[in-house]
Amino acid sequence: MLNKNFLNFSVKLLLKEKGDYLFSFIIFGFIIFIVTSVLLISESIKRDLLVALQNEGQIIVKNTKGGRYYPLNDNHIDSLLQVSGVDDVIGKVDGYYNFAQDRRFFKIAVDDDLNDTSMVVSKDIYKILKDFKYEKEFNFLIPPKNKLTLQIKDVIDSTIISNNTIFVNEYIARQILQMEEDEYSYLDIVVPNSDEIENIALIIPRIFPNFLVLPNYEIEADYDHLYYYKGGIFMILYIVALISFFILLKNQISSVYGSKRKEIAILRSIGFSIKDIISLKFIQNFLVTVGAYFTALMLSYAYVFVFNAPLLRNIFLGEIEKEVVFTPIFDLKMLVLIFIFTVVPYLASILIPSWRLAIEDVSEAMK
């Protein structure tokens, strides 16, 4: 039944009637387009966060005092190195610079490839600086009355991580953030054996009760929590849209199929069985949905990663971070998920109309 000739014939009939399927193709494609775009954006953001996390140690610790963050020093590093299972402890410097003119904070992060007179900024920051006429260089004001001038060496794409960040080397970072030579903002603890992370994370607070201990799996889980429920709520809302689409589709199909009764009767009269007609319609609809699926997929990749998702991005990022770009991702599981989510109910909804069409009286052909 499912032979090559039959497939060819189904395709020929489909091409002849492409106008009838245009409606389903466009609406269905649009639905897939939206759902794919939303999931691509949220996955891309999540991926960026996770990649950034992977560049850190397995455990991050911060010091607190009176509930506020407080710098760490070399003594802390030394005692943490004593904990068995810990391979290395790296002191890190970061913080915020108050750009008072625009009443906002810039994040200061370390990139040791830079020299003492240059910095790298994100596109978002560059835009703000330009508004204040800092096109080539920028003056950091360091109380009481020092001024530190850095050249803008490079402007990088804003990602969700870097959109509000200025990169400088560690020495400059300490100056801007007014930190001493042996002070650190947080520590990266390297634990090569992943089975020991949990245990070490429990031991550290016993040595330093003030420490805030963040093992990587906990941060990861936090990101997952944040994004899974956004995706889930969206999907539930989407089911409502899908259902209304299928009701529309059913009506559309019934009316299109109504005009096809004679044709089906002709096919039946030359030997197509009810089963063959259902297969024929199934193949045709499968091709239409799969066509719509891949078209929509390509369009959403272009929309999100080439055009940076105008309109939709605001839902995720708000109005401020205008320059953020999304890092392209390819997640097969997500694509399969979308496929099952959309194509299966579509095909389910055409089974009964196809059957109704197939059982038309063959004698109809004689009228």
Partner: protein, 317 residues
């Protein structure tokens, strides 16, 4: 926070619901057919029942295709749940996090087997000019339908009872004590596995469908233990990593899907001839050769990892 907001779970349950609705429609028609079917009648009602027969066939065939996809999807969703369940590193933790998990998994496989048997009977029925197996196939479907409804209930119970705050045990704990039946050792089980495999092939060769049926059921359980406690460790190349789920993950090239896939498909062809015989009294023993084929692939695949390890390292684990 709720697991029902996980997008793969939303999709899974939505599709299950769609399938359930289609099956309710089928069952209504099936009951009507079972009640009024009379092949020899020449009235228009009988002819309309004949036409409805094709709708039901279509829906059930569609159900089977989707159920197979959903089964794989279900196992994959369990992996997705691991970050939300404290302590879970792979599907073991999630599936074992409440009492419904493991029975549900077994139940799903059983339903797939029955649907497969239904499919074969349907094929035989449509190939007969008098639709002689029609009533039997629909009695069978009614049983499957009830099972599918229960399955949906079990799924809801399973997902709602997944703990999101209390930590669960994962494979490193669950399988660490060798929880083998009858106080057998791992090596015993492996010998029994190979012995059963050879017996099954012999029985298939002589087309003894009832013996193959029993051997295959035994084999399925023995294979489960051998893979979990013995062959699995060679896949992970770690003597203490005993888990039937971890090798479903990307780190092991999804090899678990093939291992379990060949086993289940093989066992299906091993038990279905007997089931078909007991339902419609028709010998359909030619499926046994697929049983031999798939079980051989399964055994070869499992043995491959052991041999590979031995060649590379010169010792067994």
């Amino acid at each position: 926070m709720s697991v029902f907001l996980l997008d793969s779970l939303v999709v899974f349950l939505f599709i299950e619901l769609v399938i359930l609705i289609l099956n309710v429609i089928s069952e209504v028609i099936v009951l009507r057919i079972l009640r009024y079917w009379d092949f020899d009648a020449s009235n228009s009602f009988q002819y309309s029942l004949e036409r409805q027969n094709y709708l039901v066939n279509t829906i059930i065939s569609f159900t089977i295709a989707v159920k197979i996809i959903l089964f794989i999807f279900f196992v994959k969703s369990l992996d997705d749940l691991t970050p939300l369940v404290p302590g879970a590193m792979c599907a073991t933790g999630v599936i074992g996090s409440n009492i419904y998990g493991n029975p549900l998994l077994l139940y799903k496989i059983f339903i797939l087997f029955l649907l497969g048997v239904w499919m074969i009977i349907n094929k035989l029925d449509l190939a007969s000019k008098k639709l002689i197996f029609l009533k039997k196939k629909y009695y069978l479907f009614t049983v499957i339908f009830i099972m599918i409804c229960i399955e949906f209930g079990l799924e809801i119970l399973f997902f709602t009872n997944i703990p999101l705050t209390t930590p669960v045990f994962c494979c490193s704990v669950v399988f660490v004590v060798e929880n083998l039946p009858f106080d057998l050792t791992t090596i015993d089980i492996v010998y029994i596995f190979y012995a059963l495999f050879i017996l099954t092939i012999v029985s298939n060769y002589y087309k003894k469908i009832s013996i193959s049926f029993i051997l295959n059921i035994l084999l399925m359980f023995v294979a489960y233990y051998s893979v979990t406690y013995y062959f699995g460790t060679y896949v992970y190349e770690e003597p203490n990593h005993k888990c039937p789920f971890c090798f479903l993950q990307k780190d092991y090239n999804y090899v678990g899907y093939f291992i379990w896939g060949f086993l289940f498909v093989g066992v299906f062809f091993g038990i279905s001839p007997y089931l078909i015989y007991s339902i419609i009294e028709k010998n359909y023993e030619r499926l046994l050769k697929y049983n031999t084929l798939f079980l051989s692939i399964f055994t070869a695949l499992c043995s491959f990892f052991v041999i590979k390890y031995y060649i590379e390292n010169g010792v067994f684990l």
